[in-house]
Symmetry: C2
Subunit: 246 residues, 2 copies
């Protein structure tokens, strides 16, 4: 299982297809993932067609992975199938609420990570698109997701055409707390982020963006309050549209 310690995001793919049998086997294997009450509160929409990828592309801000990957997999929190099951069995479902939404999102995200790991084990390259929750209503329309189905993760997947270096990670002490949470002091922050900030690639990143610190690149350019607040509104609107909140 060295694939886990060698994980890198793959954004460039060869033109080679993924055999449907292989993909189906991986989608099935990932179905072993732990799940609430063994209900498997997720669905995966597989986009293979050029038309389907072209339709999704602008919804992911035209990142080239969407059209260049062999397949695009949209993993959705899904309480629709379980609710349909109940309705077909003289049972009355009650899953149109925030708790059920988070339960299904949890199942979907755990599934997504297992799927990524088994795909990488086969030599496939995967890129997780965080843009899925930026314009969820457009994705909901494109994939015709019914009520109680919500897209939470997109993986682009294909045979790798690049071998990027391993990216850095924080020291384990930055995110592990013994017994209770220990709020980081300024000295802790220096210890946790110093190595990252010293990397030449990150220093260059600060320079080309005309900023003073790496953190400013994140707060002022990559993930700004203005964008976050605007997308929070569209996220909540989409959750309401899908019937998960009032």
């Amino acid at each position: 299982m060295s694939t886990i310690s060698e994980h890198r995001t793959i954004r460039r793919y060869s033109g080679r297809d993924i055999a449907p049998e292989l993909l189906s086997r991986l989608l099935e294997e990932a179905g072993r993932t732990q799940t609430m009450g063994n209900l498997q509160l997720y669905s995966v929409v597989v986009t293979r067609s050029a038309e389907g990828k072209a339709a999704l592309s602008p919804l992911h801000f035209a990142q080239p992975m969407v059209t260049e990957a062999a397949v695009v997999l949209t993993v959705c929190a899904d309480f629709r199938r379980t609710s349909r099951w109940a309705e077909c069995r003289r049972a009355t479902p009650g899953y149109d609420n925030a708790l059920s939404c988070l339960n299904a999102m949890t199942d979907a995200l755990l599934y997504t990570q297992t799927l990524s790991i088994v795909a990488e084990r086969e030599g496939l390259g995967v890129c997780f698109l965080g843009t899925t929750i930026y314009q969820p209503l457009s994705i909901i329309k494109a994939l015709r997701l019914p009520r109680l189905v919500f897209p939470v993760a997109t993986l682009t997947m294909g045979w790798p055409a690049e071998e990027p270096p391993l990216s850095d990670r924080l020291p384990v002490g930055a995110y592990v707390h013994e017994e209770v949470y220990h709020d980081p002091t300024e000295a802790d922050i220096d210890a946790y982020y110093g190595a990252k900030e010293a990397l030449e690639v990150n220093r260059e990143f600060v320079r080309i963006n005309g900023k003073e610190t790496l953190a400013q690149v994140f707060t002022d350019l990559r993930y700004t309050r203005k964008d976050n607040e605007a997308m929070s509104r569209t996220l909540i609107e989409a959750l309401r549209h899908q019937g998960f909140i009032e």
Copy 2:
């Protein structure tokens, strides 16, 4: 990586400890998990002490795994550390909103699943406690989680003292959709759930609960509208308390 296809939840543990070095190595290895902007928007609180486990136990409805496992790991969505980093670097964070909350929850849940997989690879047994989001405010207090930190998953972990059978799963066609979502017909529901409903363990489960169908056990007893709606209110209250929503 046969561990993935052989996953089973382990609820009974031997009294044997998990060496801190092993646990630390697994927590670090899981840190390779894909993460938004390489920010690692999660934290893990490790509960090893008997006092800590005793304090968590009622918050997980006294499920015996909490006190019997070698360690209890509470994985949290965490925008606090990143925000502290920004504040220490003349940057102004803007992550007190719903989108950032879901971003951090996503990171935390992907991390949780990798951690489960690497632990199982070592022969450890893991149980995912869905109860984490049932009474989040109590867990927040017990673990002293500050603003912008939210518990999303708890794993109990220890050396297995049982080898339960593999549980059933839905056929892959139940959760995979080609190109667009295909709403299940009544015939689809029969095909997806028929094998599950026919299992002797599930027929027994229906009988002892005095219900007509397996789905009714879920809707009327295990995950009821009344409970879901009450816990949705406490979930939203906790999200507000932690500063993620207004």
